[in-house]
């Protein structure tokens, strides 16, 4: 099997790896780099559990072939918290009860991060559209929307 070498930046760290081009970015993150925070819920882009930021934009890591990750700047769930301090979105998810089993949470939070980068004070409608590609089976989404819309609202 022909391997390809590529370098990519994940959470600010440059990795040089040599992989089969048939791997996806999700495989690279979970198995090559060992960042298991990004989840595999379906492998076909239907659930959003593997959502990461690729060059600042939300994308399904399971739909990106390894060669397309070449030179990319990736942010995963592990890259949000700084020096052990939860990112405000993570804190909002914790505080608002937006997490139950937690399997959808990393993808959900990355979708929220993408939205809040574009739009720091989204309405509930905008928050819904941003996570409409992220399935959650536990929460009924209500508290997730509460969390996302509360991130930048300071009383």
């Amino acid at each position: 099997m022909n391997k390809i070498s590529l370098d990519l930046t994940v959470n600010g760290q440059v990795y040089e790896i040599s992989v089969s081009p048939t791997l996806t970015l999700l495989d690279i993150l979970r198995y090559e780099i060992g960042l298991t925070g990004t989840k595999k819920g379906c492998g076909t882009g239907d659930c959003g559990a593997c959502t990461v930021l690729v060059n600042g934009r939300a994308a399904n890591a399971c739909l990106i072939l390894a060669p397309d990750a070449k030179g990319a700047d990736i942010t995963t769930i592990e890259g949000l918290a700084v020096e052990g301090e939860l990112h405000p979105i993570q804190q909002a998810f914790v505080d608002h009860g937006a997490i139950q089993c937690g399997f959808c949470s990393p993808g959900m939070i990355m979708s929220a991060a993408d939205l809040l980068n574009r739009n720091p004070n989204p309405t509930a409608e905008e928050a819904k559209n941003a996570i409409s590609g992220n399935l959650c089976r536990c929460t009924g989404y209500i508290k997730i929307i509460e969390a996302i819309t509360a991130v930048n609202k300071h009383e």
Binding site: P21, L23, T44, R57, N60, L63, G133
Partner: protein, 297 residues
């Protein structure tokens, strides 16, 4: 009989990364049937996982420059590699081709729209795809490059069956051209789904309507998705509308004609009968929306 197997990791294939369209076209010609163009990947990767396709070669065309550009001088040109989010966030598209922008904004999910390309959506030729019907009622043409020259073709004539297109050996779809919208013309697309998001159309109904000063319909284009082997332009139905004032009986007659013209299947998403009924209902609703927009309401 299909076994319950979904591949864990993708099967081996040769990966190619041409830098020019010429190079891509040559590769495609040389490698023949076993090669596939890879762009957004949002259709190909699931198909490989579900063992529906077994490409021996993937030709990634994303390294070819300028294929994702969107430009407008009266006519709109969209590069084949433009993603749905490129299109729906584009000021020009939002401004002058508003319904196209809206349709693109509701395809799949935000994450997928950052990856999926319009060219890929067209070339996959899924009968249920959302972008072809609306592009067709905008009178779109596709540009196709064969390694030496570019030909253009009405999108309406591009589809040949589920997953089948007019693309010949070595040809690559490079862009979509949408002519300037004639005055007093309105468009509409209704994606008939059970869920409000992350769903596939049971029926996709695209309509354009052009009215004269007296609100008489002078031209129309009606395309039904997910209800025939290809996104189907229902010319019979259009005949019932042209020259009318789009009264309830005209629209109902057009709906019946459209329902007769389509050939939907029974599947897990909906029955043949339901698709026929929804074609009538959505045609009526789409005509109403489009004519309202034509009247600038």
């Amino acid at each position: 009989m299909q076994k319950i197997i979904e591949v864990v990791r993708l099967k081996t294939f040769e990966y190619h990364e041409p830098r020019t369209l010429e190079e891509a076209s040559t590769l495609l010609s040389q490698l023949g049937q076993d090669a596939m163009i890879y762009a957004g990947g949002t259709d190909i990767i699931p198909k490989i996982r579900y063992k529906r396709i077994f490409p021996a070669h993937l030709i990634n065309i994303k390294k070819i420059p300028q294929l994702n550009e969107i430009s407008c001088d009266k006519k709109l040109t969209i590069g084949a590699l433009a993603t749905f989010n490129d299109i729906c966030f584009s000021g020009i598209v939002k401004d002058k081709f508003q319904v196209l922008a809206e349709v693109c904004e509701h395809i799949a999910s935000h994450q997928v729209r950052n990856l999926a390309t319009i060219g890929g959506n067209i070339c996959n030729a899924a009968p249920s795809a959302d972008s072809p019907p609306i592009l067709m009622v905008y009178d779109s043409k596709v540009e196709i490059f064969d390694g030496r020259q570019t030909r253009s073709l009405l999108l309406e004539n591009f589809f040949k069956g589920p997953g089948m297109t007019d693309l010949k050996k070595g040809e690559i779809l490079t862009g979509i051209i949408i002519p300037e919208v004639p005055p007093n013309t309105g468009h509409a697309y209704i994606k008939h789904t059970i869920r409000k998001s992350l769903d596939i159309a049971i029926v996709g109904m695209a309509v354009s309507v052009t009215l004269d000063e007296a609100d008489k319909c002078t031209a129309t284009c009606i395309v039904v998705g997910a209800s025939a082997p290809v996104p189907l332009r229902t010319k019979l139905a259009e005949k019932y509308l042209i020259g009318t004032y789009l009264g309830p009986s005209d629209v109902e007659a057009a709906g019946i004609a459209a329902a007769n013209e389509i050939s939907p299947i029974d599947d897990v998403r909906g029955s043949r009968n339901y698709r026929c009924e929804m074609t009538k209902i959505n045609l009526k609703r789409a005509v109403e929306l489009a004519s309202g927009r034509a009247r600038h309401e």
